[in-house]
């Protein structure tokens, strides 16, 4: 289908099902029940899943294929957000020009940064991208927000004000981000028995975009171009000796992943017309690295899983507090209950980052291939057990013959 082989079509269908049915999948608990707080099916969070999924897919095209570890990808996301909000301010709240511009601007910006940083490799490349990203953050945070030339609005963040020109804004167009009149906040709530499911226009827009970019990334992975990038990762020197100049390929990969990041930033602004400098800070770049590694570097579906995993558990863990823990462990004797809650306490609520750090370290140490590799190992183990039992039975039958 669409020029994909059977396995890739399967992956695409899995992603399509996961994203399109997310409002059902993420809302497994009935409304008003004790577990309802662990539902993740509300529009804001679902949008974040998908947007960070797009971001991570893009990052994976660079890191997973070429092995260049960029520590400054959040800069492109931030640039994308800023350009989208500027489109809202100048043209209209229609999201199409905004997202188009954010992709283009992020692409140009990454072309500039990539051209300079890709002259070095390894740790130098990481530090160069880190330096560029921190520089962009500092520029956006303070320098470009002076009264004479206010491009980023500094600490407050860029937003749309009533006196902005918005020259294409129609008289009766909605006063918030919309796609030809369909506002991104429009939500249809379906009640089925005790359950209620939210279908949000913005979320479905992001979901469709995710499927498109996921398809594109499959095509990139399977193309001769993707092959070339893999060759860069496995042995760049040998590739150069065969007479191929690897620079255009790595630069193209860098720009593509920068455009993905810009797209994610544009979508972020389209869901909520705001852009702040903190999106560009290097901790944000670190987050996308975490997502990609956790999911599985160099695999197709890994980054999407990693992004969903981190955002989901961030949400869940932040909601658990001591009272919830006490209710969970109420079956234990009192002293033991307190002890258990005391032990778990540092890892929940505000301690989510601690859990994430430990989890990340464990993954890097024991499971360098991330969740995808973990899943494959589990599958293999089951298969081996099956084949073992087959062998055992055949072994038993043989002497009888």
């Amino acid at each position: 289908m669409l020029g994909l082989n059977k396995k890739d079509t399967g992956l695409l269908i899995i992603v399509a099902i996961l994203t399109l049915l997310a409002p059902f999948i993420l809302n497994p608990f009935p409304e008003g029940s004790a577990m309802a707080q662990f539902n993740a099916g509300y529009p804001d969070l679902m949008q974040r899943f998908v947007i960070f999924g797009i971001f991570a897919i893009g990052f994976n095209i660079l890191f997973g294929l070429t092995g260049y570890l960029s520590f400054g990808h959040a800069a492109f996301l931030g640039v994308g957000s800023y350009s989208a909000v500027w489109m809202f301010k100048l043209l209209s709240y229609n999201i199409l020009p905004a997202i188009a511009l954010s992709v283009v601007v992020a692409g140009l910006f990454s072309l500039l940064i990539g051209f300079v940083s890709l002259r070095r490799s390894g740790i130098y490349f990481s530090i160069l991208t880190l330096a560029f990203a921190q520089m962009s953050f500092a520029l956006a945070y303070s320098v470009l927000s002076n009264p004479k030339f206010n491009l980023t609005n500094g600490e407050t963040g860029l937003q749309v004000y009533a006196d902005d020109p918005q020259i294409l804004q129609g008289a009766n167009a909605p006063d918030l981000p919309h796609l030809f009149g369909l506002p991104m906040r429009a939500t249809y709530t379906m009640d089925v028995g005790a359950w209620s499911f939210d279908f949000n226009a913005g979320y479905y827009l992001c979901a469709v975009v995710l499927m498109v970019v996921f398809y594109l990334s499959i095509r990139i992975f399977r193309s001769p171009f993707g092959m070339m990038l893999r060759a860069v990762k496995s042995n760049q020197q040998r590739m150069n000796y065969t007479g191929l100049n690897s620079k255009p390929y790595t630069l193209a990969a860098f720009v593509i992943s920068g455009m993905y990041a810009g797209l994610a930033g544009g979508l972020m602004a389209a869901m909520d017309p705001l852009a702040g400098a903190e999106r560009m800070q290097w901790t944000a770049s670190g987050e996308v690295v975490l997502m990609t590694i956790l999911g599985g570097t160099g695999t197709l579906i890994g980054p999407v899983l990693g992004a969903g995993f981190i955002k989901y558990f961030e949400n869940i863990f932040s909601k658990i507090n001591d009272n919830v823990l006490h209710s969970w462990f109420a079956f234990l004797p009192d002293g033991l209950e307190d002890a258990v809650v005391f032990v778990i306490h540092p890892f929940i609520g505000k301690g989510w980052h601690l859990t994430l750090g430990i989890l990340f370290m464990l993954v890097v140490i024991y499971l360098p291939g991330g969740l995808v590799e973990g899943g494959q190992r589990l599958l293999n183990r089951f298969k081996r057990k099956k084949s073992n039992t087959d062998d055992a039975t055949s072994g038993k039958t043989e002497p009888a013959e």
């Binding site: 740790i123 990481s126 500092a138 290097w282 301690g351 601690l354 140490i365």
Partner: protein
């Protein structure tokens, strides 16, 4: 003239911190070949050693003083630190006052231990893995250490004042013949600079003039041959990791009075220290120190009103800008050697 001197002095304290952290980073990189993203966290742990000691010294017990009354006429409860009870009020008060310098003694064993455990427990398993994996695992470790400190000490900065005798400022201008009040400089910054120079000198002479240092230098040049000569170079490198951790920690201990420690100070310094290492030249110890001071001073020059009005915001980006220029024109850094990190 005096303005230039003042800016140089202003750059010294940050420069000292950069130089010390970069020195530790380079030590680890030069010996073990590991890129340690958790080095900023070690700096932060050092600062929190000072905080811990200060808290320990201020542990007090309550006594009811019948001779004093509060405004309701009840006997006043007086808190006496244990130290004052044990050593007498005056000696005790002095000990509490000098808690930051005393924390040096407290921090050295702790940092050596932390470094040792880190190397044996985690980093050891990553020598054979790619640099990207080393970066990632130490990055994770940095997050974990940072969150642990946040859990115990909270997210707000904690004041660690310098001893009374060393707080306040001194008029340096008069000493070298400028007008009075031309160069007024906080004493603790001078102390910090002197301390940094002392530590750097100690590390260099340790490497230069002791047998242990000689073996380590030989190991940095050619690890395999040293190993073939029957020397347990791994153990020495582990000890060097501990020393690098202690250098970062001590830089943190003494930095407290300049800037109240908070849990993310390590991360803030880490990014800049990496830039410093790269500018100085990966694997070059003198390069790291030189680049640390140079960039610190450059940053202070860029923060003058003249510079910020000419190019707005130059103080925020100067270091990154310099790093980018250096990396592109002199890829090995100021004093980098050939063959280090050039795959």
């Amino acid at each position: 003239m005096d303005a230039i001197l003042l800016q140089i002095l202003n750059g010294l304290d940050k420069g000292s911190a950069y130089a010390l952290i970069a020195l530790g980073l380079t030590l680890i990189f030069g010996t073990l070949g590991v890129v340690n993203f958790a080095h900023g966290a070690l700096f932060m742990i050092g600062a929190f050693c000072a905080v811990t000691l200060q808290k320990l010294l201020n542990l007090s017990f309550e006594t009811v003083d019948e001779s004093q009354k509060d405004f309701l006429g009840n006997p006043l409860k007086v808190e006496t630190p244990y130290v004052e009870a044990w050593f007498g009020p005056e000696v005790g008060a002095t000990i509490i006052d000098w808690s930051v310098p005393l924390a040096i003694l407290f921090a050295i064993p702790i940092m050596l231990l932390v470094g040792y455990v880190m190397e044996r427990g985690l980093i050891k398993h990553f020598y054979k893995r790619p640099h990207a994996d080393q970066i990632l695992v130490t990055f994770g470790l940095a997050i974990v250490l940072q969150e642990i400190v946040k859990y115990f000490f909270g997210a707000n900065p904690i004041q660690t004042p310098p001893p009374d005798a060393l707080s306040g400022s001194v008029d340096l201008g008069i000493m070298v013949g400028f007008d009075p009040n031309a160069i007024i400089y906080p004493i603790w910054r001078l102390v910090y600079f002197g301390f940094a120079v002392g530590i750097i000198g100690a590390v260099f002479s340790f490497l230069q003039f002791t047998t242990f240092g000689m073996v380590v230098r030989a190991g940095m040049a050619d690890r395999e041959t040293v190993g073939l000569l029957g020397i347990n170079i791994d153990r020495r490198f582990t000890i060097m990791f501990g020393i690098a951790a202690a250098v970062a920690g001590l830089a943190g201990v003494m930095y407290g009075p300049l800037n109240p420690p908070n849990y993310h100070m390590g991360m803030d310094f880490l990014v800049l220290s990496f830039v410093v290492v790269v500018v100085g030249g990966m694997g070059s110890l003198p390069g790291a120190v030189l680049a640390g001071f140079l960039l610190g001073i450059l940053e202070s020059f860029a923060s003058t009103t003249w510079a910020t009005t000419t190019i707005p915001g130059i103080n925020q980006i100067i270091i990154y800008l310099v790093a980018i220029i250096v990396l592109l024109t002199r890829p090995r850094g100021l004093m980098g050697r050939k063959g280090v990190m050039e795959e």
